[in-house]
Amino acid sequence: MFKKLTCLTILSISLISSYGQKDSLKTLGGGDVDQTTMDSLGLVNPELQKKYNAGVKAFTAKSYMDAVQRFTEVILMDEAHVDAYFYRGQAFKGLSKNSEAISDFDKTMVLDPSRAEAAYFKGSILLDDQDYENAAKAFDKASGMDKSNEKYPYYKGVAEFQMEMYELAVKSFDEAVKRKSDYAYAYNDRGSAKMKTGDLDGAIADYKNAVRHDDYLSFAYNNLGSAYKAKEDYKNADKYYTEALKRDTKYHVAYNNRGTARYEAGKFKDALSDYSKAIEINPKYAYAYNNKASVFIQMENYKEAVKNCDKAIEIEPEYMEAFVNRGIAKEMLKDIDGACADWQDAFILGSENAEQYVNGPACSGK
């Protein structure tokens, strides 16, 4: 039994370890294991093998239900068939039957405690489900099982980031880059975790590492821009947002961010242009409408500010910042009732400033 498992494991050449894993069975050479090989390994149940191969074939063809059925048949014949559990788990994952998938991965790990991939795939399901705590545990387990794979600590870091445990996330990303020194994604994400802890210089260094290893990462350039923006170095912020946009001309997020860097530098017309560009790319981008309103407030064009806030709120009806801004613009248009109503909405949505405005003399006066 042990021999059979070992052989199968050897046959299972290392899977492509991408998060949305595909073709994990490609390395089985198209799915079928020929009888000669099986004989040479001393595997003696041809029926079982036939069913297993059929399952592999179905899985490769993305006929997940069929694959599940086949692997189930294998399991019925052999309760300890670790691969059948493993790949059935993947087929269940393909069918979005997550609890069944997790159950199979757990079973895989029971049968083969060194099967790091099972932990990894379990983690990826949990990460998708936003069960970050258990996802982190699963990735941690995978990372412990396989100390060479950089993806396991990476995704552990991702789960920790999502739980806002940024210092732990940094450590996990540290492990990831230790295992793979040119792991651009890990540098990027570690940079982001450092942003969250306030280590802006550390974030900048990491983002720079990310782009050094992969110059096409537009989002890393964007993040670099945002790190400089957080340092109020708007010149460098502008520079790196521009680099992001060179690599992705449709990157509306970067246009919006560069617009803000320009706004903070007092370049309102340039900011307006960038926000407009963001909207041109993504007409449903509420943030850019809101930010345009902010520019118009600075330019004392309050009517345009209101119009843009209207649009932002139409797209996102619970957009707190847009209610605050629209209140500000309405006050300057002497629509005090309208302003107070907007600030009341903003207050309900969580704005502390709006609470002060509502309780202030503007709204409690005439």
């Binding site: 651009a184 605050v324 202030g360």
Partner: protein
């Protein structure tokens, strides 16, 4: 230094060149005096025009110069002969005295026709530019005047010119520090084509009294305009009613009667009266339902000098006023006087000091009901011209360096008499602005406060393996609080049964110091009362009237709490068996039953009630909110009621007159069901506090 000299020299050369060009360009225009020899071909027209000129001269040179009538005549003469330097100069001088925005063209014309028309012409041209905010041109002309003003009689004017140069520099500096205000004309219900000015308001902006010079039954005053009278307007649902002449005894025929101050509760009016020729402050009250005959404020306030402004503190205890009496720092100064309760008169006047007072004029003082903000006008400090409005704050007992309120509130002309409502957002002032109804008008000033910062939204793809960007955490900018730091309590006092309005006494107590701060009286006709509550105190408020049980309220106004207005109608209960009142100013520590010191005033009031009704028997009851254990609440409330009884007994009340009971949470004023429907945590907490109380019930009289 060399660069400075060079620049100054360059400026002088430039100005001289400009002047020369003006002179040369009007080469075709020659000074043409009103000489019949020069108008031989137009004898009849000359005769008519010269008559106008002579008529104008009569008004211009009369003892009480009537510049309006003078200019009317001069302009007729000017139509015939616009090239008389002397006539242009006189027209300019007329406008200087009542409409400065019209004078520039005439002074410049006079100068272009004849640069020597008068040795002060450059000074008045400078003023013309100054009044329009053309700072640099004004500075240049003032300097040019000063450089030429060598005659002894011009030295005072030269000194003024140097001051005005500084005012222009102030104007240049203040141009970048504009006040965030709206200035809106109050409209034709309040304003007219005649001068309307000097608005004074109650703290809640319910009423306004102001001065106007409008036609009435009287003749014109010696200066050619109508006599000053006081007008009254009410704010109904945000709109001011038509201004009505306040009538006698405040307005007296044949004399100027002008508003200078109104107490925050609107019941005490300060009036400027000049019948003695030196300007004094008078006071009138309407507590009995109509305005009383104005009386003088006494010798500590009014002197042989000029006292034209007054403002009363929120508690009625300190009067701020201005006077140009000897011993000040120069011109009019700000003084204050404290009310002497024992002698029932105002005490010695004290000069407020050289942080606020200057060697120049300080006028139109206004103390805000928050007790810590003062507004006044001054031709000193960093005025940009004439009287400018300033604000100062009382910090740790000292007034801060006054801050110029800036344009557009301040202009190069006089800006005076700003009054600000309790909320700090709205003020009222009068000025002469284009687009008004004529002459001076009253304007509503809306103080917008610090800029409200707009909020931006950004996001980043922080996690490489997740396509959806993550929004940047919203960090709201820190706000500077706008508005004032105080509360206003207002309402109507009525008989509980008949609902008739009552004139009653409202006593304001500082519970922490156990001191009575002030006493007010509600309006005899309407029962309306208003109390100003500056921030930073625990206030006890008692409403008292003979024959009625007193009513008790408590307001804690924290420091930096902003502005709040509380509306609280008070229904007074007659002293009858079965009547109950809640003692809101009896305090215990949390979970304990020993009385806190802040309860003393309320207890003294209760003792007063019992002493005034020597056969009265009462029940004191303690009540809690519904939180905590029912048994504990019952015991605590019983103990607390007993503590009150013990205090009364220890202060001379016979124990046989007192019963006590603890009702715990069994008699809440606001039920749990009602509380659960409340939206905010604060509302709920206030409701629980209403339930925690000590009550007095009359058992027998």
């Amino acid at each position: 230094m060399f660069r400075k000299i060079k620049t100054k020299r360059m400026k002088n050369i430039t100005l001289t060149l400009i002047t020369l060009v003006i002179g040369l360009s009007s080469f075709s225009q020659v000074d043409t005096p009103f000489d019949k020899k020069l108008f031989k071909e137009q004898k009849d027209e000359f005769k008519v025009a010269n008559k106008h000129l002579e008529e104008g001269d009569v008004y211009y040179m009369a003892y009480s110069r009537d510049y309006r009538k003078a200019v009317a005549e001069y302009l007729q003469a000017n139509k015939f002969n616009p090239n008389s330097a002397d006539l242009n100069y006189k027209i300019g001088m007329c406008y200087y005295n009542f409409d400065k925005y019209q004078m520039k063209q005439y002074f410049e014309k006079a100068y272009s026709l004849k640069p020597t028309v008068s040795n002060d012409i450059l000074f008045y041209i400078a003023i013309s530019y100054h009044i329009e905010g053309e700072w640099q041109k004004a500075i240049d002309y003032y300097n040019q005047f000063a450089s030429k003003a060598t005659a002894p009689e011009l030295q005072p004017m030269k000194t003024k010119a140097f001051k005005k140069v500084q005012e222009c520099k102030n104007g240049q500096d203040l141009a970048n520090k504009k006040a965030r205000v709206w200035i809106d004309n109050l409209g034709d219900k309040v304003n007219s084509k005649y001068p309307d000015y000097g608005p004074v308001i109650s703290a809640d902006e319910a009423i306004m009294v102001y001065t106007a010079r409008r036609p009435g039954v009287e003749d014109l005053s010696p200066d050619g305009a109508y006599f000053e009278d006081m007008f009254y307007s009410e704010n109904v649902d945000g709109n001011w009613t038509e201004g009505k002449n306040i009538g006698k005894p405040l307005n007296i025929e044949g004399q100027h009667d002008a508003t200078i101050g109104l107490s925050p509760d609107g019941h005490t009016l300060f009036i400027y009266n000049d019948k003695k020729g030196n300007g004094d402050i008078y006071i009138s009250s309407d507590e009995e339902g109509s305005w009383s005959k104005p009386v003088q404020l006494g010798k500590n306030i009014n002197t042989d000098a000029h006292e034209p402004d007054a403002s009363l503190s929120f508690d009625g205890k300190r009067l701020y006023f201005t006077s140009d009496k000897p011993g000040g720092l120069g011109g009019h100064d700000i003084y204050y006087s404290d009310w002497n309760e024992d002698k029932e008169k105002w005490g010695e006047a004290v000069n407020i000091g050289n942080v606020l007072n200057t060697p120049y004029e300080e006028r139109s003082v206004f103390i805000h009901p928050d007790g810590e903000t003062m507004y006044f006008s001054s031709t000193g400090h960093n005025t940009m011209g004439g009287l400018d409005l300033f604000q100062t704050k009382l910090v740790e007992g000292k007034w801060t360096k006054p801050v110029n309120l800036g344009p557009p509130l301040n202009t190069p002309d006089h800006d005076v008499q700003l009054v600000v409502a309790g909320n700090g957002r709205y003020g009222y002032a009068s000025s002469y602005r284009q687009g008004g109804y004529g002459e001076k008008d009253i304007y509503l000033i809306t103080f917008l406060g610090p800029e409200k910062p707009p909020m931006l939204s950004n996001e980043d793809n922080l996690i490489a393996s997740i396509a959806k960007p993550i929004k940047e955490k919203v960090k709201e900018p820190e706000l500077v609080m706008e508005g004032s730091n105080m509360a206003i309590l207002t309402g109507i006092i009525r008989d509980e049964k008949t609902r008739e309005p009552l004139q009653a006494k409202v006593v304001l107590v500082d519970n922490d110091k156990n001191e009575i701060i002030a006493e007010f009286t509600s309006d005899a006709n309407t029962g309306k009362y208003l109390v100003s509550l500056p921030a930073g105190k625990n206030y006890g408020i008692a409403v008292k009237k003979d024959g009625y049980l007193f009513h008790s309220e408590n307001f804690v106004i924290p420091e930096a709490s902003g502005f709040k207005e509380y509306k609280k109608d008070v229904d007074l209960k007659k002293v009858e068996v079965g009547q109950k009142i809640v003692l809101r100013n009896i305090f215990f520590d949390y979970g304990k039953y020993s009385l806190r010191d802040a309860s003393v005033n309320e207890l003294e009031r209760l003792i007063g009630l019992l002493n005034d009704n020597p056969t009265m028997r009462i029940e004191l009851s303690g009540h809690t909110d519904t939180r905590g254990s029912t048994t504990d609440n019952q015991v605590l409330s019983q103990n607390r009621a007993e503590s009150v009884v013990d205090y009364l007994v220890s202060h001379g009340i016979n124990k046989s007159r007192l019963e006590f009971a603890g009702y715990g949470e069994s008699q809440t004023l606001i039920t749990d069901s009602q509380i659960s429907k409340m939206k905010s945590k604060k509302e709920k907490e206030d409701a629980h506090q209403q339930n925690r109380r000590t009550e007095v019930k009359i058992l027998k009289l």
